[in-house]
Symmetry: C2
Subunit: 566 residues, 2 copies
Amino acid sequence: MKQSQLFMPTMKEVPTGADVVSHQLLLRAGYIRQIAAGVYSYLPLAKRVLHKVETIVREELDKVGAVELTMPAIHPAELWQETGRWDLYGPEMMRLQDRHGRDFALGPTHEEVITSLLRSEINSYKKLPLTLYQIQTKYRDERRPRFGLLRGREFIMKDAYSFHASQEDVDAMYDKMYQAYSNIFTRCGIDFRPVIADSGEMGGKDTHEFMALADVGEDTIAYSDSSDYAANIEMAAVNTNYVKSNEELRELEKVNTGSAKTIEEVSELLAISKDRLIKSLLYIVDEEPMLILVRGDHELNEIKLKHELNASTVELASSEKTHELLQVEVGNVGPINIPSTIKVYADHAVAAVVNGVCGANESEMHFKNVNIERDVATVEYGDIRMIQEGDVSPDGKGIIKFARGIEVGQVFKLGTHYSEKMGASFLDENGKSKPMIMGCYGIGISRTVSAIIEQHNDENGIVWPKDVAPYAVHVIAVNVKNDEQRELSEAVYERLKGVSIEVLYDDRKERAGVKFADSDLIGMPIRVTVGKQANEGIVEVKLRHSGETFEVHESELVEKIQQLLK
Amino acid sequence: MKQSQLFMPTMKEVPTGADVVSHQLLLRAGYIRQIAAGVYSYLPLAKRVLHKVETIVREELDKVGAVELTMPAIHPAELWQETGRWDLYGPEMMRLQDRHGRDFALGPTHEEVITSLLRSEINSYKKLPLTLYQIQTKYRDERRPRFGLLRGREFIMKDAYSFHASQEDVDAMYDKMYQAYSNIFTRCGIDFRPVIADSGEMGGKDTHEFMALADVGEDTIAYSDSSDYAANIEMAAVNTNYVKSNEELRELEKVNTGSAKTIEEVSELLAISKDRLIKSLLYIVDEEPMLILVRGDHELNEIKLKHELNASTVELASSEKTHELLQVEVGNVGPINIPSTIKVYADHAVAAVVNGVCGANESEMHFKNVNIERDVATVEYGDIRMIQEGDVSPDGKGIIKFARGIEVGQVFKLGTHYSEKMGASFLDENGKSKPMIMGCYGIGISRTVSAIIEQHNDENGIVWPKDVAPYAVHVIAVNVKNDEQRELSEAVYERLKGVSIEVLYDDRKERAGVKFADSDLIGMPIRVTVGKQANEGIVEVKLRHSGETFEVHESELVEKIQQLLK
């Protein structure tokens, strides 16, 4: 492609409002333009990258037997009402009415549409399993669209759905998809981790998020420094092999702690380390009060708490509510001598505290030498704390570290949540009607483009991995007014095209400095510069990622480039 | 692809509500399913056809230097307000509000978006011309969505826009696009005609529609049986070389025609052929009355009238209005002795009528022996009648015939309509600011799929042209439980795949009759049947379009098929 024909409006300045490097570079290098908050045009260079990513996705999904279709973006409200999500989705779902006043959603996802499609057509185990996918535009009216393609309101997604007659079958497809996703992100040049994730409101159980590691990521990942364990910190299990010290148990003692309320204050006042304090938090769990205990140096994980208690809602009680139930201030609450109507639920770590400290349910008072199993009548235990950097990995291998990640994909076992609500059933081998078992599998295609750039850039611009670069080679004529340079550039351009190498040729009448700066900014893997040595047939080949250069005679250029692209 | 993995729900019965053959076959053969009126899912076979058509479109557009991008489907209202189309578009444009109450359109077309994109980035003639295209989902809330993909509310379109510094340049691109479109539809196997079309409200001038000939088409085309002249009948010029008979002019004579009012009645009563009657129609042209004359056997073309008079509105006067202005009934209106405030405008054919008949502006009276040029003071002439079958072609070559067509594409010189309204200007070589000159070029991608089927089907199903078929070859194992048949089928399937032939393999445990019926219905160009002769290594090759069959030994199969696909 001749650059003069390409629409590629580059900018020198960092545009205002673009806070992350991928957003800045997509704008500066002329890949995207915004037309409304979170709504972008993909200009020709971006379109080529999207096409590359989509091709990789298609190839890997085809390998696991998934089949492509395309579903509409406008969905009749009735389908979403069947699953209750018409109301549940809230303002994030864009809605409209047609000329007859009928309600439609702009699809944020397609579980309802695909389930309705299959329930009408598939009635026997003989026609299962089926795995279908689409690469399609999705709509979510984000409260805070930001970071360019990382969080848009109109974006491109690959979503796949699988339908099965048995759990073994969905398990097998899940594993295949997990592998396909690993292949996809590897081929895209992304440094990623598949992490154990929260199934949220989707009603399923097993789920992994594929996280591209990047400081701008909105999610925190806990991973082992010596194994492949990784989880979203919200979901990370904790290694509960706590070692209890063999110190002698001392007698329970009530002490006046005055105005000391926080863990820090009490620890300092009593000169007792925080890991011997017991934090007591009054929660309202599905409308019932419950006292939750975690160690003073730990933090409660509400998501894990919710899962452990199998609760719909868990909410910290207000100070008013605490006073009403226990007649004491929040900082002096404790598990000893509380009314038997209030259950006590503790993190495993609390059981291992010897001669600890907790609130005494009395103004200005704490207990010392607390030993929960001795001093509290009934306590239940679970894994309810946040994992911390430095913890032993849950799999026992290595130490936990934290990293930030961008969620680029997710695989999910949906179970029968949608098929039951929507009556998508099949007759099994014995003629018995059963709901189809479903899996779903998403990749944020446009987001992936941003994630690649977050990981592949330098101070001069984007540095594309070769499998997703818009063009493999960027040919630059230093001075197109010089006949030798122009003719050699064009010859080189035609010759590379002739052997099916994707090449962009900067044929513009611009200064060399502008051309080089634009070239670094847009980031093709290989640059071929045709300059003063054109009269000797010599060009310069430069690798964008390493800066390495080679002087190559034009007669050997094709071979050299083919070799570099391998 | 193994058919057991493909989602391809075929139906035996013709579905109710599907009135045209392409709609019936797309449903019956499992290519599409409706989720709301005019809103469809493209199932895997359709997705492959769309992909084929899109690839042809991309290849031909790339050849003429067009570059692909993707613009969003949701457009801020402000852009449409700039051109006034936010109000003009009416209920056909789907609209929505985001969570902040801001108005958006679901794009029915993209002139506004692309013009706003380029006006911000292009400021010099040096960066022109630019031709950009996208293949993207469009939305039009049709009053009567129907005929499947022929008139949908969510559909796939290729839309291209070109921007130029000179008229010569847009003319050149228009011609290139015209050629590209001809190549595209030829490669899609479509019997089409590019026809002169109406520029409607778009503000441009030159425009051609590409019409796929089909009886279900909503447009009528007038074409020459001996040249390449073709036009939408609304726009067809008429050959005005009327031959005036050399009969002697007789004296004007008023006759009582009683209650005879229509052309038929007066012709019969006076025993004078209709081509000697002069039809007089009182019109209101931009609020002024005007008497319009056409020959009795001709029909007025209001669109041509509007163009000839350069009028905004032309409307037939009501009988009340006619009575008010001429104190006579509609059937007795005529051009002789009407008030001089009412201009007379006649079709060229009227000038050639010798001794004709027209109304006398008097109850129950007509004139005989009318010779317009002699009897009416001031008459202007223009080409304002509908073309008719049997007319001489406007280019003088051959005779006009009519055909019905489906509009699958349109090329259009927009001029500066949008660039002026939206301030998309550039500095020319002399530093003078000028509006960009634009062209636009559309292809209905999903509609094209329907048009192909309208032209390529038989009583058993679809008969795909090979360049757009989902698969080139359909391999059928007559009985998969027979080891020899199954093994040979699989070997043949793998071998064809191995040489990059796209092949669908019916591996289902269905009866042979079901398989053959499905195979004809879905319509792949070549069928390979592996049946009883499998033990001798012999298979049957059958061409879908001709029904021709060949017995081929498996060892020669690949070569035979490669030869047939050429």
